[in-house]
């Protein structure tokens, strides 16, 4: 299975990459880890005339905190995020990155690539949605920041303009009293696209019992990764525990809009959304309580 012909470019920095992208006017694709793009090219689904390789750009691989915000470079590999980034990565994101593909895929696949590929069940997209992340999109004209619910427009479709590069993911730094969790159901235990995946994030009030705020994100439940408004509403102000989590699971299943396909039925997916929602909230609560 051979790759179609293209001209390869290795920019020395982000500014040069942006200038190239602009100059090629829609003829170029950005290459990050290549675990999606090169596969699509081999399958004949994409045949860009120009490839601009971002993989070597150190400025896209930095992670760090700025005030209360955590900034993750789009070039970070799934393997690095799965390793926790020295304790900086929120639990659900590290779990999602660790559930992606295989060890070989995680050593290549990038954070930014997972986001711009925008599959409805992508292992890092669903946790980032629950964590309230936004993305920085940079073009020669400057930078804009987009919240993830506005970034995902459809399967493989995002708000990214052809002249833009997704450079960073921004999210709130995890604080005491907060926790998150990720759950993935597949037909196999590795190298699998989820049948359903769910991520949950919650913050407790100072009493350690009442839920101040929560978000539940669902994958493979709609054309894009989606937040469940019903689950968030059921959890806010409730006492953390089985009753609240059951109500949230019921609401999440009601919000889900899954389809029947060769991988599973909509009815089964809806049931599994509920089961995984409960499980992820349990993980998030355990972390929020520090155990």
């Amino acid at each position: 299975m051979l790759l179609p012909s293209f001209t390869y470019h290795r920019p020395g920095g982000l500014a040069e990459a942006l200038a190239m992208l602009d100059g090629f006017g829609g003829q170029a694709k950005l290459l990050a880890g290549g675990t999606d793009l090169l596969v699509n090219m081999k399958h004949g689904k994409q045949a860009p005339a120009q490839l601009i390789d971002l993989d070597g750009l150190a400025e896209l691989k930095a992670s760090g905190s700025r005030g209360d915000a955590l900034e993750l470079g789009a070039g970070l590999k799934a393997a690095a995020i799965a390793g926790g980034l020295g304790g900086a990565a929120p639990q659900a994101l590290a779990q999602g990155a660790g559930a992606l593909g295989s060890p070989q895929v995680r050593n290549r696949a990038s954070l930014g690539g997972n986001l711009v590929t925008a599959r409805p069940a992508a292992d890092m997209c669903v946790p980032l949605l629950a964590l309230g992340a936004r993305v920085a999109l940079v073009s020669p004209a400057g930078e804009r920041q987009v919240d993830l619910p506005e970034f995902f427009l459809g399967p493989g479709l995002t708000a990214l303009h052809p002249s833009e590069v997704l450079t960073r993911v921004l999210l709130a730094k995890p604080r005491p009293g907060e926790g998150s969790g990720y759950g993935k159901l597949g037909l196999r235990k590795a190298l699998e696209i989820p049948l359903v995946n769910v991520a949950a994030w919650l913050a407790l009030e100072a009493d350690g019992k009442t839920i101040k705020e929560a978000r539940v994100a669902l994958g493979a439940a709609a054309p894009t990764p989606m937040l469940s408004p019903g689950a968030a509403k059921a959890l806010a102000g409730a006492t953390a525990g089985d009753d609240a989590f059951a109500a949230a699971a019921f609401a999440a299943a009601a919000d889900a809009r899954p389809i029947d396909d060769h991988r599973g039925s909509a009815e089964y997916r809806r049931d599994m959304v509920a089961a995984l929602t409960k499980r992820c909230l349990g993980q998030a609560l355990a972390q929020a309580r520090g155990n």
């Binding site: 790759l3 001209t7 593909g101 070989q104 235990k189």
Partner: protein, 161 residues
């Protein structure tokens, strides 16, 4: 279409090759450098038979462009034995009956090598997870897991003696 002069280190030796941009690292290793120990199976990153270590980390060489290996270090299965002495992992694979048709073995052994470098005394689950990106259609995996376990015992024994 572009062609590039690629310089890289494979199995400790410097190579230089003229490669087309659309040739993968797996193709460059096999066709330009004649290192046919790296196998090409699915060619889309699912089977792991083309696994090599790129700067010490296992990757599917079918999903890395040859030009992306510029100035980097690659370890292939040819780089493991020292003369006629097999690497403990290779020897354990032979002894444990972990090699049947042999097609997955180079990738399997390189994934196992990366695992043992990160985790010299892995548990069974660690081994299964470390090899999750390598498919074998012959053995049913059990003998492969046993071979990695045996190699880890032998290598940690050698390290302490």
């Amino acid at each position: 279409m572009s062609a590039h002069i690629l310089k890289l280190k494979v199995n400790g030796r410097e190579y230089q090759a003229l490669v087309s941009a659309n040739h993968t690292l797996a193709q460059v290793l096999r066709e330009n450098l004649g290192l046919t120990g790296t196998k090409q199976g699915c060619q889309v990153g699912d089977c792991g038979s083309c696994t090599v270590l790129l700067d010490g980390e296992p990757v599917n060489s079918c999903l890395v462009l040859g030009v992306q290996a510029e100035s980097r270090e690659v370890l292939t299965i040819e780089g493991l034995a020292e003369g006629n002495k097999l690497h403990p992992l290779q020897d354990s694979f032979v002894r444990a009956g972990a090699i049947q048709c042999g097609f997955c073995s180079p990738g399997m052994i390189l994934s196992a090598k990366a695992l043992l470098e990160r985790k010299p005394s892995p548990g069974l689950d660690d081994i299964r997870q470390g090899l999750a990106g390598n498919l074998c259609r012959c053995t049913g995996y059990q003998k492969i897991v046993e071979a990695v376990m045996q190699a880890s015992h032998r290598m940690s024994g050698e390290a302490s003696s």
